[in-house]
Symmetry: C2
Subunit: 224 residues, 2 copies
């Protein structure tokens, strides 16, 4: 089930100007609207035209690629405030799905292209967004290629903690399966590693989806 509305949203994350005005990052504003997606709904698929850029207003999104035999690799998680789907190519190379029910702001690519043509600062900003993705991916590649399960899970928990502004107890919107496909591990290995960390007193697991960071130093020493 999916709903959308041209601005004027009930809980919209953007201004109430007629037509809507979405701040992409700092400098770029563009007209847009918002849509609601429900859990596991596809936002866009591989090879679909990349006519929009998206910003998470609330909820969480996974960006992934799937192999023909079902193996899946999640490239990144997008949380509130994150921008995704920005690709200079004509089509999306990866697919985006809602992890939880979520509200997504959409910006037309054509509007951004026009802004980039007029204003070299805007162009630089768009480039910077792509570059940021690139750097995060480089870090992740090191993890996938050269790190063991304990290091991967530790790095993941620290990443999530940092994104939740370093709070001690973090809420994980994604399932163990999502975590596994992000880290290149099976759900069993993820689960075992988490309970191991709990037994050692490094983290607490109040519920399935909550993690309390008790010994950040220990995590950091493992995460490499």
């Amino acid at each position: 089930m999916r709903t959308f509305e041209i601005d004027g949203g009930t809980g919209g994350g953007f201004g109430s100007t007629a037509g809507g005005l979405l701040s992409l990052t700092r400098g770029i504003s563009a007209p847009g609207f918002a849509m609601n997606f429900s859990r596991n709904e596809e936002i866009y698929g591989e090879d679909e035209p990349a006519d929009f850029v998206y910003r998470v207003v609330s909820g969480a999104v996974r960006i992934s690629r799937i192999l023909s035999d079902g193996r899946r690799q999640i490239a990144s998680f997008q949380l509130a405030g994150d921008v995704f789907g920005l690709e200079p190519g004509q089509v999306h190379a990866l697919c985006a799905e809602a992890i939880t029910d979520c509200r997504i702001a959409l910006i037309k690519r054509s509007a951004l292209d026009r802004a980039a043509d007029r204003d070299s600062g805007a162009a630089r900003e768009l480039w910077g967004l792509t570059a940021k993705d690139l750097q995060r991916l480089q870090e992740h590649m090191l993890l996938l290629g050269r790190k063991g399960a304990l290091e991967r899970v530790s790095a993941f928990l620290l990443e999530m903690s940092d994104r939740a502004s370093g709070r001690q107890t973090i809420e994980l919107p994604m399932s163990r399966s999502d975590i596994g496909d992000y880290l290149g591990l099976t759900i069993e290995t993820v689960s075992r590693t988490l309970t191991q960390l709990e037994r050692e007193g490094v983290i607490g697991l109040p519920s399935f989806r909550q993690v309390k960071i008790c010994d950040r130093k220990a995590l950091e020493s493992w995460a490499g």
Copy 2:
């Protein structure tokens, strides 16, 4: 040992205009010069200022990150004609080293920045270079996270074959160690997988550094 010269090179890959004129891709030209690096020499290191962008005139380069305990992940190989080192940030996040003796053309970042400010087409072109890196990395991430040794080596051989314009016998400039660190495998696994492919008649190994693709279809079916 390293030599450099302002244009006027003996075997330079760029025009002989006074001051030098380097074509970065199709549209952008910028003044520059060329340097020679010898095998295993560092071109730039992690966290060094990113004042230049580089283009391989001849030879091969590896782009990598190294963990404190010596584990290494190679992000990409740069062959003749490839552009690398373009990062919007102030410093390089990865390091670049010469795999073989090679000749590298250098372009000042400041010149590119000026071109991007003046000309939105140039800005888009720079953005496109970063985006291309991103897409290659996304593909590679799937390999590192979800593929087995046979699939990784097959994909690597196909990638190298494609980059050598699909020739049947390809020359590998990099060592087994480099291949392993690129694919997230040990040199032993790389070696064993190659000999396995040879025994099955899929490839031929005339020498350490040469691979003959005998059964491309088989490689493609494994590479996923």
